[in-house]
Symmetry: C2
Subunit: 299 residues, 2 copies
């Protein structure tokens, strides 16, 4: 089993109460991959500019990712600059430079088109749809987006919902797209709009999963020192989708376990800047924390 992730590979500059870092390797697909690679072979579909540092390319390859569909185009790599304050629960975007992302048209090889597990991480919904039309036999399609697209490409996003299995959103996004403030109502509404399943990430408050048959809810893994939450949601999705890909099935038991893997993967991500912590992770680290996590709530 392997998985395809479409998303961004970016150069992130971030300031948190614990320091400032510039031009870190980041982006939704990069964060996703660091967690998903612990479960399955990851095919990364993204674009970078000709300024993308060679060391970053080598780094991604060293992590075992299939980079055959990572395009390098003339122009600049996508850059994001943000800042966190107080309890680090929400990012303030200071600057975004799309660069080559504005001309991105993802291509996949014939072999990759047969991959059944697909995650459309946060990029323009039109780009997400384009990739989806290229895939031969999807078995599980996850989709993430962001408030920017909810506001500017709402119709395209809602159209996409009808073709996917699981919509992954944070609480603000779920409320904005559904128009419901209660998160269970929001999840129901999003299912009614087309997604078979809805996964709402609530940051330090954990996660809510909904489909027509059941609701699951997990607390977050308790992290005392949150250094940099950038990419935590993508890392969650990577652990979640990665485990389901490895499991090869999407029943209630697999979903619960996938949610727990996503939770512990994300808890590592926030403990250091960028990919510093997750890129060093081994599966055994996840397993160890998973068993600690279980002790936090099982009775």
């Amino acid at each position: 089993m392997s998985i395809i992730v479409l998303g961004t590979v970016a150069l992130d500059s971030v300031k948190t109460p614990f320091g400032r870092r510039t031009e870190l390797l980041g982006g939704s697909a990069a964060h996703f991959s660091m967690a998903a690679r612990l479960f399955t072979r990851v095919n990364l579909i993204a674009i970078v500019g000709s300024d993308f540092p060679k060391k970053h390319m080598a780094f991604l390859r060293d992590k075992g990712l299939n980079l055959s569909s990572l395009s390098v185009d003339k122009g600049k790599t996508f850059r994001w600059e943000g800042q966190y304050e107080g309890d680090l629960n929400s990012a303030l975007t200071l600057n975004t430079q799309l660069g080559v992302l504005s001309v991105f048209k993802p291509e996949v090889s014939e072999a990759q088109r047969k991959i059944e597990y697909i995650f459309l991480a946060n990029v323009d919904p039109d780009i997400q749809e384009h990739l989806l039309t290229r895939m031969h036999s999807p078995k599980l399609i996850g989709l993430d987006s962001m408030n920017y697209w909810i506001n500017t490409k709402r119709k395209a996003l809602i159209k996409l919902l009808k073709h996917i299995d699981i919509y992954v959103a944070n609480d603000q996004e779920a409320r904005a797209l559904s128009g419901e403030s209660n998160l269970i109502k929001a999840a129901k509404a999003l299912c009614a709009m087309g997604s078979r399943m809805v996964l709402i990430k609530k940051g330090e408050h954990g996660v809510l999963f909904y489909n027509k048959k059941f609701i699951f809810s997990l607390p977050a893994y308790p992290v005392e020192k949150v250094i940099d939450p950038t990419g935590a949601g993508d890392t969650f999705a990577g652990g979640f989708m990665g485990y389901l890909t490895q499991a090869g099935k999407v029943d209630a038991a697999a979903i619960k376990k996938a949610l727990a893997y996503g939770t512990v993967a994300a808890s590592f991500n926030v403990e250091d800047f960028g990919l510093s912590r997750t890129s060093k992770l081994r599966r055994a680290d996840l397993e160890r924390r998973l068993s600690q996590f279980k002790k936090c709530f099982s009775f």
Copy 2:
């Protein structure tokens, strides 16, 4: 085993997106008792005015509470008026009339002084301390407070922390009293200030429990239609302390189960106005929902 709860018995007027109710029976001790009575004999220590409706007194007696130390004094019963909007996560207090609460000096019978399980629900810290000095042999003392006392009687409250076992707070209160925005750091700080254990209620986001040996975290029970959250925190405390009283021990396993009982008790409370839902509860209702709740996260 029996428990003492000190707190308010009030007449609440409340407006939520689902309607408006006036002069409902409420107050911290009343909400606490509705849950705690399902586990143990509850001794209610509070004060009401001569205007307190006889039907409310009969109602409390019918619920099996020991009212021998419920004082009736000349003057008016404590009244609270509040409003909830949007996601109903925080109350806006419109009016508070202390009435007889301003002259409350709780008295307990000689028999009640021997009770080992004690909950000091939200009232003036000086009143809480007064009751505590009357008790002969406390085994487990819980304490709740509110931002008003944190701001106006901080010293008295901090002094009390050194004499109690478990400080029960919502997230805002925990942050305000500790000065820490991360809730785990806040819980640690509150333990350092004197409380042996800290229980932080996060409303729709569940609960965090901390002591020097372990951290527990539970999501909330997913409630789609929150009608009136007034008293949810007190109901939580009632289920939590009630179970521990019945268990007669305070080890890790008992605490986890108590947190789960508190969670499901609170989930019933928010489903209707005032005590409407919790006053009709039977232990079997709690057990049924507890088993549904477990399915939401156990894997």
